[in-house]
């Protein structure tokens, strides 16, 4: 039994289809990269996996439970099994970094623990947050306010939130998009090592195709809401990569913004 099983999952908003009926299965402990052009449906798929987007049809089984057949209370309980790090982490201004990171421990925490984290983290809690941040090269910002952080630092706060959480399934939506290439590699390494060490499953959307192909044993490629590749990156041919990013190679804005895509995509997996 896989940790996460999608069966003919169909995502739609009004008449607009986000994801065509899609089936896939992710085993516990797997590390999966999601790639695809902007608008291909990576974020929608991750949100569906995070139970944040109700499917129009099909089913989603998480840890053996059919999530959308549960009562909303049971489904909410099931959410403790996963955590999503959004691309632009929404953090309340004025909150301190320590508290923002410890929010990853909230699911399942008692009221006393939660209040402690909010007002004055105790030593064990502060240490937990510090260690996660320190691995992400942010240890010195532990007591800063989140509104003083840059975009890349906020993304790392969201990753630190994953690192401290008890969720078994970590979902990350382009967690490296605001980082410079060198740091992106280091942060991804930390995330993957932590997932391995803590026995977590990682699904991570990336637009750094080279990193996805080099570091993930399994790559899922989306194009216009359809899976066009699912498997080891070695089997991803140049033609397929061209297809995935078709219409982007002619210098559309999404490509121009991202330095890692400025060379032809097929060169990256060779």
């Amino acid at each position: 039994m896989g940790l996460l099983e999608l069966d003919a999952l169909h995502l739609r908003v009004g008449a607009r289809t986000l994801i065509e009926p899609l089936s896939l299965r992710i085993e516990a402990g797997e590390q999966v990269a999601l790639i695809g052009a902007s608008g291909a449906g990576k974020t929608s798929l991750l949100q569906a996996m995070a139970l944040a987007l109700a499917p129009a049809a099909g089913s989603l089984r998480l840890a053996g439970q059919d999530a959308w057949r549960l009562s909303s209370r049971d489904r909410h309980w099931l959410r403790r099994a996963l955590m999503l790090a959004p691309q632009h982490p929404p953090l309340p201004p004025r909150q301190r970094v320590a508290t923002a990171v410890l929010a990853g421990r909230l699911p399942g925490a008692t009221m006393a623990e939660s209040l402690r984290m909010l007002f004055s983290p105790n030593e064990a809690q502060a240490r937990l947050a510090f260690e996660a941040l320190d691995r992400l090269e942010l240890g010195d910002r532990l007591w800063s306010r989140v509104d003083q952080l840059s975009g890349g630092e906020r993304q790392r706060v969201a990753i630190a939130r994953l690192l401290v959480s008890n969720a078994r399934l970590w979902l990350a939506d382009e967690p490296l998009s605001a980082l410079d290439p060198q740091r992106a590699q280091r942060v991804l390494a930390v995330l993957q090592d932590a997932a391995r060490a803590q026995d977590r499953t990682l699904v991570c959307s990336l637009h750094q195709v080279d990193l996805a192909c080099r570091l993930f044993p399994r790559v899922i490629a989306l194009r216009e809401g359809r899976v066009v590749h699912d498997g080891p990156p070695q089997r991803l041919g140049a033609k397929q990569l061209d297809e995935i990013y078709e219409g982007l190679a002619d210098g559309s804005p999404a490509l121009a913004q991202d330095p890692s895509l400025s060379s032809p995509p097929q060169a990256m997996c060779r």
């Binding site: 953090l91 909230l106 699911p107 939660s114 004055s120 320190d134 969720a167």
Partner: protein
């Protein structure tokens, strides 16, 4: 141990754990937070003493019996046709007074707000504001403070002596004090919004008015409209209160009814108030952009189809109000009225400054401060509790609590005080409770709106991770809305210091009681001293609150 950034990353070097505190041990804000909490608790005690705050007195047998008797009369409102027809006419007069007053206030407020806001300063673009413009802004702000520091009831009490009984005094009183309020808040709203679009336009050499229209207004138009409509509701309540000093409208009827202990008539009039304010609330809700009902769907563009229709309606209301009020503009602004006003003002000078009198004024000022602070504090706690329920997306609880908030808010402090006096007798406690009741309604509604308007993404991120409802509230919704909630509370405190002075008029003590006493004895010099004390007090509270809010918004 050493904490520092090493060369490549920003990674903290953890060297020699045994030598000192680990980097996660020092929480720099902990001491300050604890100190603040202790200071607040220490401050609370004298407040309770000065307000003679003994709520259990409300529950003793004698006052309970009096309350029940009064409440029983309320159960049978008077609804015969003659009375209702009279009330309909008086209701229209109340609305018209509020509308005309607010329109005049708007005319005063807009130019002053534009002068007062630092947002449109060209010289401030390059660092510090120039000395001339800064002085002008300071002057305009001071005028605004003076205008709104004198409660509308006091403006009206004085204007009645000059322009005589009738709606003129009421309209002018509303125009003056609301002009001050609107001007100040407009300027603050403009300043609280994101500065970058306006600055970008100004730096690009665009004129100030254009920068206002294209840079500043789009970001805060909703808030400005929402606040103006909200102030219109307040003006309706004010115009009711002004009836107590002879300006006509529902307030005068209410005054007559309470003086004759006609509980049934009081009940009818109160019901009409509540209906009036509820109607204004619907208008305000309609004007605000639609909320997203479904979090899982992309945001819908705000629905504003009725806007043009509504604005036409408001314009018609305004014209009708101007047309129907027996205002005698010529007399109000004629030479005779101005001369009379001059004579009246001359009677106030010089103020009474005998030490014994000043000591009594000081005592009164302390009572007024205590009443306003405790009333606002109680209301903030109660208002937040109710707002939590009222900001639920739907369900009977949402509508029930909104109804409760509307009812609390529609009844002015002065009327609450008049009702509570029956139960608790004279003194500062009924005044404090009256303030708290009305302010709970106001703050509860503003807080519910602030909670609803908080960006939902932060809360969603936690909810999607399986955090419980109260955790989401404590970690995402509340921290996002907290500065605004505190800011509203501080602002209401400023407002309540004015209200607390007015409550003295019905016997709640403090400066207001002294004012009404000396005014009724025609002791104008003493009245002047009390007025000056009120002005100083309001400015002091204003300055404290402004400083606190600046700190909040940092």
């Amino acid at each position: 141990m050493s904490v520092g950034r090493s060369g490549s990353g920003g990674r903290v070097a953890v060297a020699g754990d045994g030598h000192g505190a680990a980097p996660w041990r020092r929480d720099p804000a902990a001491a300050r937070r604890l100190g603040l909490a202790v200071a607040l608790l220490v401050l609370l005690w004298p407040l309770l003493v000065w307000c003679e705050f003994r709520p259990w007195e409300l529950l003793d047998e004698r006052s309970l019996r009096a309350t029940m008797r009064f409440a029983a009369q309320f159960l049978t409102p008077r609804v015969d046709l003659e009375f209702l027809a009279l009330l309909a006419a008086e209701t229209w007069r109340t609305v018209a007074m509020a509308t005309v007053g607010l329109a005049l206030a708007w005319v005063i407020a807009v130019p002053m707000a534009l002068l007062a806001t630092a947002r449109l300063s060209v010289s401030a673009l390059a660092g510090r504001m120039g000395r001339g413009p800064a002085a002008l802004r300071w002057l305009v702000r001071t005028v605004l403070v003076v205008l709104r520091s004198v409660p509308e009831l006091v403006w009206a009490l004085m204007l009645v002596r000059v322009v005589g009984l009738g709606p003129g005094a009421g309209v002018l009183a509303i125009a003056l004090s609301y002009g001050g309020m609107l001007g100040k808040v407009y300027a603050e709203i403009l300043e609280s919004a994101d500065a970058t679009p306006t600055q970008a336009l100004l730096r690009g050499g665009v004129g100030r008015l254009q920068a206002l229209l294209f840079g500043a207004l789009p970001g805060c138009a909703d808030e400005l409209v929402s606040y103006t409509v909200y102030r219109w509701e307040c003006a309706i309540r004010s115009s009711v209160v002004l009836g107590f000093v002879g300006a006509g409208g529902l307030g005068q009827q209410l005054d007559n009814a309470t003086k004759m202990f006609a509980g049934a008539e009081v009940a009818t009039i109160l019901l009409i108030f509540i209906a009036l304010v509820a109607a204004a609330d619907r208008v305000s809700a309609w004007l605000r952009p639609a909320r997203d009902a479904e979090p899982s769907r992309p945001a819908r563009p705000p629905v504003r189809h009725g806007l043009r229709l509504l604005l036409t309606g408001l314009l018609a209301l305004l014209i009708a109000s101007f047309a129907t009020l027996p205002m005698r503009w010529g007399e109000l602004l004629g030479a005779g009225a101005l001369a009379q006003m001059g004579r009246f003002i001359a009677e106030f000078f010089p103020p009474q400054l005998a030490p014994g009198f000043l000591a009594r004024v000081g005592q009164g000022a302390l009572e007024t401060v205590a009443m306003s602070a405790l009333g606002s504090g109680l209301a903030a706690v109660a208002g937040l509790a109710i707002a939590l329920v009222a900001s639920r997306p739907s369900g009977p609880l949402r509508w029930g609590t909104r109804l409760l908030l509307n009812a609390l808010r529609s009844v002015p402090e002065l009327v609450w005080a008049a009702i509570l006096l029956v139960a608790a007798g004279l003194g500062p406690m009924p005044g404090t409770l009256a303030l708290a009741l009305h302010t709970t309604g106001v703050l509860g509604r503003l807080m519910a709106e602030a909670l609803e308007n908080a960006p939902p993404q932060t809360a969603q991120a936690l909810r999607w991770a399986g955090a419980s409802r109260w955790q989401v509230f404590a970690f995402a919704t509340l921290p996002q809305a907290a500065p605004q909630l505190l800011s509203y509370t501080l602002y209401r405190w400023e407002n309540n210091i004015r209200a607390a002075t007015v409550l003295g008029v019905v016997g709640a003590g403090g400066l207001g009681q002294m004012l009404s006493l000396h005014l009724s004895l025609f002791q104008m010099r003493e009245t002047c001293t009390v007025l000056l004390a009120m002005l100083a007090l309001v400015m002091l509270v204003d300055a404290c609150s402004y400083a606190a809010r600046r700190k909040l918004n940092r």
